[in-house]
Amino acid sequence: MSDRASILNRIQNALRTPAARPPEPSPKPVFPPIAPTDLVAHLERELLALKADFHFSSNWNDARQWLKQIADQHELRRVVTSPEMDAVEAGRSLGARTLTGDGDCGRHLADLDLGITTCDCAVARTGSVVLTPQSGFGRALSVLPPAHLVVARKSQVVTDLSDAYKLLQARHGRNWPSMITFITGPSRTADIEKILVLGAHGPKKLFVLLLDF
């Protein structure tokens, strides 16, 4: 018998004896509500608590100023961007090279200062940005370079993780991408004496630029 058949067989035999079902929980909410008008402020608070950088812009001029400022401050010289419109526009002021996706992703992104992507949505509750290989332009761009800039639109901010999953289901449900990642702050570790260190293996810096225009 194959391992598959023998495991399934053992499971079915085991389950012949039923286990007591736990009581049905009431449909009360688990998390407190967030007012729709407070979404962006909540997202910002969470991101800052996670030691990410956040900027809210209502026009490109303002966004470009902020981008120049962070580029100077963190010496972001070798910059690449995904070819999505908002990312390219943000990359323009940083002299970013636009990726083509034709053999220039994956391990080829090792020697850079900053990668720029868009996202599928942002979750206010947890301060997360949600990326797929479409919005993140593959898997490596948002994790291999030492800094990551996400350009998002205000309309992409949702309240909870479950809202993010609903949105992903609606957008990708018929043809799921090979990966979905919820990024919540810059890479971190507290393995040594529970002391927080940023930039364990992924980006040390996470910048979120939220556009509202």
């Binding site: 053992r10 736990p22 407190p32 290989p133 479950s162 890479s187």
Partner: protein, 473 residues
């Protein structure tokens, strides 16, 4: 030495080691503070636990259905699903794959299942180099140790210990800060991701409906292991199943809060296939190995089946007074603490591993802190009961309990025993016998001081008291 004697030996050594205790207290203290802070962000943490319990019940009690649903939906995207009945089969599948694809070096992210099947030793025997990339696991690998804790592998080490390890193994100068040490690991491991032929990860959850695995981490090493090498292999216990993708909306925060006191860990990544058409990078092959290795034994025990609901957050370890004294290594198991004590007898044999269930104060804190509300302390009791009824107790223990049993059922015998004990204790104390090597109850009195047996039993006092009250009337 038997596992039980080894456990006793190691626990005594750790319990008297005050430096070890101080390190552990600091770590669990920091953890407790953070958990309390993040739990406060829920309006109803307990309610979340009950929902999580219900979801896991649903998954485990229809495990065959959900595993096949997972297999069907993930295979449609090109994932290759393997089934492994035991550790040997899982190792063999990986080795075969390595040989067929010419893999000489692979990078690994943190996975307790690979510890369970001793994958690293197995690969090294076959001239394949596994490189651990999680910082804690990397340190463990450099020191040739086993992980001390399922979530915090080097909880037992100080910064100075790790500094010295890096100095000895990597030749770095001593005197680094925690950040310096982490940056050294980052620099060394960066090159490993780029040159490895395969990435191996575990899985925190298997999502049945959409055919994905979900990996929870903070460092980004699991993302790199599953992004850069041309082959990605995920190995997961069959109990990791959740019915629906949306279930993660509850389980990801529950795991983060209980695991590390975070609202959500830094990276939560769902992977459902190799690089798809139109995607710019990612592995060419994605394999999932579904491992049984004794889990169906536990499934067959309807009374303890819910122990398979465990999401390996480590909360019961951090909250356990036994763990806080004996530490993680004394258990001698892959899974430490209360959950380890409950499941190890099912995975590796009750006769050899029953002692862990007896090493408990049954305070119930493990049950209270469990995010999926597993009734852990009652399962410890059930293991004890099962061990006794299977005949795994010593004749002297059986004799003692038989005597105790008859004594407790016979009032006059009990009264005589109390009087005799009182006299015996007085004599024993007067001549200095208590706790000495020739004391008949030395294994007990050796480390504990019994309170003096009262001169009057409660019943005698009550009778006298009643009489006195009556006389006063």
């Amino acid at each position: 030495m038997s596992h039980a004697s080894q456990f006793e030996h190691d626990s005594i050594l750790k319990t008297v080691n005050l430096r070890h205790r101080a390190i552990l207290q600091k770590a669990t203290g920091t953890y407790d503070t953070k958990v309390a802070e993040t739990k406060a962000k829920f309006i109803n943490w307990n309610h979340g636990r009950e929902i999580a319990r219900q979801r896991k019940w649903e998954a485990i009690n229809r495990l065959d259905f959900y595993l096949q649903e997972f297999e069907r939906s993930t295979s449609a995207r090109g994932t290759i699903v393997h089934w492994a009945a035991d550790a040997a089969r899982a190792n063999e599948i990986i080795l075969r794959l390595c040989k067929a694809r010419g893999v000489r070096k692979l990078v690994k992210s943190k996975s307790m299942v690979t510890e369970e099947i001793h994958l690293n030793e197995f690969l090294e025997e076959h001239a394949i180099t596994p490189v651990e990339t999680d910082l804690g696991e990397y340190i463990v690998q450099l020191r040739h140790e086993t992980p001390y804790h399922i979530v915090t592998p080097v909880m037992h080490l100080t910064k100075e210990d790790i500094d010295l390890t890096f100095h000895e193994k990597l030749g770095t100068p001593t005197g680094s800060t925690a950040e310096g040490l982490a940056m050294t690991a980052r620099r060394v491991l960066r090159n490993e991701y780029l040159t490895a032929d395969m990435g191996i990860t575990g899985a925190n959850f298997i999502v049945a409906d959409t055919g994905m695995i979900s990996i929870t981490e903070n460092e980004g090493n699991a993302r790199l292991c599953s992004s850069i090498p041309r082959i990605h292999v995920a190995i997961c216990g069959i109990e990791k199943v959740l019915p629906r993708l949306d279930d993660l909306a509850l389980f990801l925060p529950m795991l983060a809060v209980s695991g590390t006191g975070q609202q959500l860990t830094c990276y939560n990544t769902m992977i459902g296939g190799p690089r798809q058409a139109g995607e710019t990078d990612g592995p060419e092959e994605f394999h999932v190995i579904l491992l049984d290795n004794g889990r169906t034994n536990l499934l067959a025990d309807a009374e303890q089946r819910e122990a398979l609901h465990c999401i390996r957050c480590g909360a019961c370890l951090n909250g356990c007074p036994i763990f806080k004294n004996v530490g993680g290594h004394a258990y001698g198991t892959t899974y430490q603490g209360p959950i380890g004590a409950v499941i190890t007898p099912h995975l590796k044999g009750l006769g050899e591993w029953k002692h862990l269930s007896f090493a408990s104060s049954l305070c119930g804190n493990c049950t209270d802190v469990c995010p999926v509300h597993i009734d852990l302390h009652h399962h410890l009791l059930q293991n004890r009961r099962n061990a006794v009824s299977a005949g795994y107790s010593s004749w002297i223990e059986r004799l003692n309990f038989r005597m105790w049993n008859s004594l407790m059922q016979n009032e006059s015998a009990y009264r005589v025993a109390v009087v005799l004990s009182r006299i015996a204790q007085k004599i024993s104390r007067a001549i200095g016998l208590e706790g000495s090597p020739i004391d008949p109850v030395q294994p007990w009195t050796d480390k504990r001081t019994l309170p003096a047996i009262a001169d009057k039993t409660f019943r005698d006092w009550w009778d006298d008291h009643k009489l006195k009250m009556k006389n006063e009337e």
